[in-house]
Amino acid sequence: MTPVLLVACVMGPQESTLVDDLQVVAVLAEPPEAGPGQSIALETVVVDTTDEGYDLWQWTCLGETCSPVEDTLFIPPTLPASEEPIPVFHWTLACRPGLCEDIEPTQDAPALLEDLPMEGVSLGLRWLGISTRERANPTIECAADGLCQVDGDFSEYSAVYPYSDVPGWETPSAELVPGDTEVELSWVGEESGTAWVVIVDGQGGVGLWTGDI
């Protein structure tokens, strides 16, 4: 076990923070949970560093029923109202033109990838909630030096994840604890580029900051 831990101590730009192809980086939902008869506004953030263009499919699955969705998710009023969230799976599939054909909404979305290449294809999964709770997304604002101001309920496991289109983030993630108002991410890149910093609160809330770095 010790050798593995030693490897983890090696510092430098983290490969996992670099977006150098086509990637679904985030799906923002406002509000993160909504009750029956209400709607959730969706914003999908896809990064394409090659400018080759892509096709996009999005669908949600409630139980075994899956249906396409675009920028708004309507919650059927016939669903039971509950404080305990009912999960809705939101899938986003981005493909280079011509790579993905005849995509039908399915709850077993990973099975679609079995016959698709890894390059030029990106699949992302978000869990949305149907509930009568009033919840807010966490927020994040970062400066070019990597110092970020954060706000939200961090009582569950919460963290910040930086990404960029040029190598440079030395911090793959930073954990947040209740009371945190800022977090510092280490940037050691030599080029400038675009950064996306995602904040998650472990309760279904997601926030995003985008800017130059």
Partner: protein, 743 residues
């Protein structure tokens, strides 16, 4: 384990006599002022030819070699049994080297004739404590040395896991004189918790074990302590790269001896200053173990009191930014203690062995401040076995094997949530009986074992009672003096663990025992006097295997569990089949030992009825080990071990997706077990040197494992998004140097 038939001869047999014995040569360059005794065992053919010579009580390496060389040159007359027929024989005697004289072989010898070794096992391979100490590649470890023998696949990362005949490590049993050991290895494989010096031999039964052993579906490794008082007091102190140890064995009186031994690793003392960095302090792995043993002989029995225990621990500490106090990032501890009372009575017509062992054991893992895993077990084991002859041809072995105690478990992972905990007393009585019929060249052994497992009672959430009845049959036929054919078939059972059956958690109280039907057919052949070959083909049909809930947090040894995981509820849905053949060729020369073991096998599993049949995760179609150890002049000894093994199967990842809430990449697996790691190859070397000093002997050794630094993939890993395979390769060669002072 040798039969006592020799004592039951109707008339006095004619014992072998020394016809012509050369005078052993005093070893060159050795101290000629001391007295040295070497005790040998010599195996003779019915015609008196020397077949095998072994050192039973060594003097020191040079004298041992001189005595052994002389034994091979000695001419003996043949032995006759009570019926006047030529019979194989085994003689034991001492060679005494004293200033100005060498007493010839046999002059002070005690000669006994013993019948052929009779064992209940169709395949049982034993290694003596002396062999364990010098064989290269396992650092003198009593359990790891078994990995050299046929039927054992190579475990990843050099752990001590025993993957025997295509079964999982947890399916095999490691015992101390027949009773299970709570923890076999420090940290999963660094070294076994029972030091080799406490043992007389290690017995390895790869399959078709006798009814003595139950609650297991795989092989058995039995560590056996001596049952006699030591001839004289002895002691040693040893120091190597990992640990220090001492061992003191004193003869307190004619009938009593006391042994005290202990070990302490100091990897932590060496590594902790280097690993600690500012606010993070790492307490590197450290372990203790200790043993105290008192043996007392009376007119009727031998009493053996043994206390042994072990304590493993490592911790990652940091400073809490708010309180500025020490906080634990991660911590692991594994410890047990056992008090064992054993009574051996071999003086009457029936051998009687009674063992009672009690003590606590616990495992603990803490991650951050919220996640933890704890398992505890307060257990008692009781074994009593009777063994004796009913008639000239019929003998009986019967025994009681009881385990009882109280188990608790708690698993909680903060990120995932959900507390998985439970506790229950358990009571597991077992009875067995075995009848052996031996007539001329034929031996038939029929046995029956019954076990019951009862979970539940005060403090638990329900009760479950399971029972098994396992018949077993073994046959041996001596085709000629040195050729034996053998076969065995039997049923084996194991009970589900508490966590999988616990009605209070998400276990399944309807689980039934796991089953195995095993069969072995083989031969044993003595060739050219000191070359022995034995081979077997075997099949193991596994049914009712407990599968499911592979996503649960649990303790494991070796590489991290790799998917895809079966996350459905526990069920007895798993089946499997293992087919294989194994061959062991062993040469024991006057001053050398060589061993070649080959195993070919195929091990398959089907977890659920609708699943495809897939390869077992440690399926290794070919495993080959060649080992040689040579005594050299001037008290040098050198050894080399070559190992080749097929790589383990793994399930390749064909794509991946991003979980946008947890920000982790999830693999999309391809066909299960359709990938296979590259083959493993390793060269291990060992050199020993003994210096005879005025008051003690000083032994130094150097052992290098994977001396050629072969880049062996240990298990498959991937980069962060599974787009690249990055197999974890074996560590670079690490020379281990040690010294040992023997008094």
């Amino acid at each position: 384990m040798y039969s006592l038939l020799a004592l039951a001869f109707a008339a006095d047999p004619v014992l072998p006599e020394v016809v012509e014995a050369p005078i052993p040569i005093w070893p060159e360059g050795t101290d000629q002022t001391t007295v040295v005794e070497v005790t040998l065992t010599v195996v003779l053919s019915p015609q008196g030819d020397v077949l095998d010579v072994r050192v039973v009580e060594p003097g020191n390496p040079s004298f041992d070699a001189a005595a052994v060389d002389a034994a091979w040159e000695t001419l003996f007359s043949g032995a006759l049994d009570a019926d006047g027929n030529p019979a194989p024989a085994q003689i034991t005697y001492t060679v005494r080297f004293e200033p100005g004289a060498v007493v010839p072989l046999g002059a002070d010898g005690v000669i006994v004739v013993e019948a052929e070794r009779v064992t209940s096992e169709v395949v049982e391979r034993t290694l003596t404590a002396e062999e364990i100490r010098y064989l290269p590649g396992t650092s003198g470890d009593a359990v790891k040395v078994v990995q050299n023998l046929p039927g054992v696949a190579r475990p990843p990362l050099g752990t001590g896991n025993l993957i025997i005949r295509g079964t999982a490590p947890e399916d095999s049993l490691t015992t101390l004189d027949g009773s299970p050991i709570p923890l076999v290895f420090h940290f999963g494989g660094l070294t076994s918790v029972v030091p080799s010096d406490l043992l007389s031999e290690v017995a390895y039964v790869p399959g078709n074990a006798s009814v003595r052993y139950g609650r297991t579906l795989g092989g058995v490794v039995d560590l056996r302590t001596t049952t006699t008082l030591p001839e004289e007091s002895s002691a040693y102190v040893s120091v190597d790269l990992y640990q220090s140890a001492f061992f003191v064995q004193r003869r307190l009186s004619d009938s009593t001896s006391l042994t005290v031994a202990a070990r302490r690793s100091y990897i932590d003392a060496v590594l902790t200053p280097f690993l600690s960095n500012g606010s993070i302090r790492i307490q590197a792995p450290r372990y203790y173990d200790g043993q105290v043993r008192l043996v007392h002989e009376t007119d009727t029995a031998t009493w053996d009191v043994l206390f042994y225990g072990s304590d493993d621990r490592f911790r990652f500490l940091g400073i809490d930014e708010d309180t500025e106090e020490d906080t634990v990032f991660a911590s692991y501890a594994d410890r047990f203690a056992r008090l064992r009372l054993r009574r051996l009575d071999t003086r009457g017509p029936w051998d009687r062995e009674t063992t009672l062992a009690v003590g606590p054991e616990s495992r603990f893992f803490e991650f951050s401040t919220a996640s933890e895993a704890i398992e505890t077990n307060w257990s008692a084991t009781f074994r009593q076995e009777l063994n004796g002859s009913l008639t000239d041809t019929l003998s009986l072995r019967s025994g009681l094997d009881v385990q009882a105690g109280r188990q608790t478990y708690l698993f909680y992972l903060a990120n995932v949530g959900g507390r998985d905990e439970g506790e229950s007393p358990y009571f597991a009585p077992g009875v067995y009986s075995e009848l052996t019929w031996q007539q001329g060249p034929t031996t038939l052994i029929g046995g029956l074992r019954g076990d019951v497992m009862s979970y539940g009672g005060p403090g638990s959430s329900g009760s479950v009672v399971l029972q098994t009845l396992d018949p077993r049959l073994t046959a041996r036929y001596a085709v000629a003096d040195f050729t034996t054919l053998k076969a065995s078939v039997g049923r084996y059972s194991a009970f589900p663990d508490l966590r999988s059956i616990d009605v209070g958690g998400d276990g399944n109280p309807k689980l039934s025992p796991e089953r195995s039907l095993q069969a072995t057919v083989g031969f044993e052949q003595q060739l050219l006097g000191n070359l022995r070959v034995d081979g077997s083909v075997f099949v193991n049909r596994l049914t009712d295997q407990v599968v499911g809930r592979e996503d649960r947090l649990r303790f494991f040894t070796g590489p991290p569990p790799i998917g895809p995981f079966d996350t459905d509820a526990y069920a007895n849905d798993g089946v499997g089949q293992v087919l294989g053949a194994e061959l062991l060729a062993r040469y024991d020369g006057p001053s050398s030992t060589a061993l070649l073991s080959v195993t070919v096998s195929n091990s398959q599993r089907q977890d659920r009825p609708d699943d495809d049949v897939e390869l077992f995760e440690f399926d290794q179609p070919l495993v080959l080990t060649a080992l040689w150890s040579q005594q050299l002049p001037r008290n040098w000894r050198a050894g080399i071990r070559l190992r080749y093994g097929s790589g383990n199967p793994y399930t390749p990842v064909v794509n991946s997706y991003l979980d946008l809430d947890t920000r982790t990449w999830r693999p999309v697996y391809g066909e299960r077990s359709s990938g296979r790691l590259s083959p493993f190859f390793s060269t291990d070397v060992r050199i020993d040197k003994t210096w005879e000093l005025r008051r003690f002997d000083l032994v130094g050794y150097l052992e290098i494992q994977n001396a050629t630094f072969a880049q062996n993939p240990e298990y498959m890993a991937w980069n962060f998004d599974y787009s690249e395979e990055q197999p974890f390769v074996s560590s670079p060669p690490l020379p281990v140097f040690g010294i040992r002072g023997e008094f």
